[in-house]
């Protein structure tokens, strides 16, 4: 249990803070975006609110989270550790961060097209797809947070 209570070197704190803050902004934007898209009931204003939450909150959050992840990764010296010795929680975190980033970009592209179609009166089908992808991303990032915090293995 003493591992849990270990105090890390001070020089790791700032990049870790930025990493966690970015991840929290990312998840917050996903929750806001998904909630707005889920409860819009066809209301164009709330559908747009959902999309822009993803674009202006989640995406910057992802960038901050990912850049700070790389910073703390090198600060902690994982760069010098052979891949096979890198713990699985770190692997899970990187996999979900990178794959999630790709899915987030796809989500934003689909959502952006969906908002344009909505303005043209062509329905909100693509924004429903955006909602589904947002919920999938949210679930993936919950797993990532669990893995980073609980550090299995």
């Amino acid at each position: 249990m003493s591992v849990l209570a270990t105090v890390r070197p001070d020089s790791w704190n700032f990049p870790l803070f930025l990493h966690v803050l970015g991840a929290m902004i990312l998840v917050g934007g996903l929750v806001a975006g998904a909630a707005a898209l889920a409860f819009a009931r066809g209301d164009a204003r709330i559908l747009r609110l959902g999309f822009w939450s993803l674009m202006l909150v989640s995406f910057p959050g992802w960038i901050l989270m990912r850049l700070a992840a790389q910073w703390i990764y090198s600060r902690e010296g994982w760069d010098d550790v052979p891949d096979k010795l890198v713990p699985s929680w770190l692997g899970i975190g990187f996999l979900l961060a990178d794959a999630g980033g790709l899915v987030l970009v796809i989500t934003l592209i689909i959502g952006g097209i969906g908002v344009r179609r909505l303005q043209a009166g062509k329905g909100s089908g693509l924004l429903r797809a955006t909602l589904v992808l947002s919920v999938v991303l949210l679930a993936a990032y919950v797993v990532a947070v669990w893995a980073m915090a609980g550090k299995p293995s």
Binding site: S2, F17, M24, A35, A149, P152
Partner: protein, 159 residues
């Protein structure tokens, strides 16, 4: 992963839930500033409920699991300065959050009154209530407290 590691993971997830709710309310704070009709105001109600649930889970999870971890983990004690600071900040944040909620409940309340009176069009009074500067101030203060708790949890001053 043992029981204590699970509790730590759930504690962190609760913190994410709390911040997610706070961010959701920032999105609503911005959105509601341009809303001047009762129907549009009330339509945001279900989205706000998601925020209430995430903040409730976050507040409950962080304090209950945080206090548990302070007792359960070797090297930490409930009377450690940074843990006491976090608890005090949590209490202040809860009080400020309650004020934020009260300020932003005035909008839907007024919207309901207007709707019941048959006034469904734009209302300057409703717009002014939705743009509550008191609500923005309290939400900004609550968010600042949450940020301070995060800083406290990462730097653990005095640990």
């Amino acid at each position: 992963m043992g029981f204590k590691e699970w509790m730590l993971a759930l504690h962190v997830l609760a913190a994410f839930s709390l911040v997610a709710g706070s961010i959701l309310f920032w999105v609503l704070v911005v959105a509601v500033r341009r809303i001047d009709t009762p129907d549009d105001t009330l339509r945001l109600g279900p989205v706000a409920k998601v925020g209430n649930v995430t903040i409730g889970v976050g507040m409950g999870g962080t304090i209950i699991l945080g206090v548990y971890l302070a007792f359960a983990l070797d090297g930490y004690a409930i009377w450690d300065g940074w843990i006491l600071a976090a608890i005090v900040l949590w209490i202040v944040g809860a009080a400020l959050g309650r004020q934020t909620g009260a300020a932003y409940m005035a909008g839907p309340k007024k919207a309901l009154e207007l709707k019941e009176a048959g006034q469904t069009g734009p209302s300057a009074e409703l717009l002014a209530i939705n743009r509550t500067s008191r609500g923005v101030l309290f939400h900004a203060l609550t968010s600042a407290i949450v940020l301070l708790i995060l800083i406290d949890m990462i730097w653990k001053p005095g640990a």
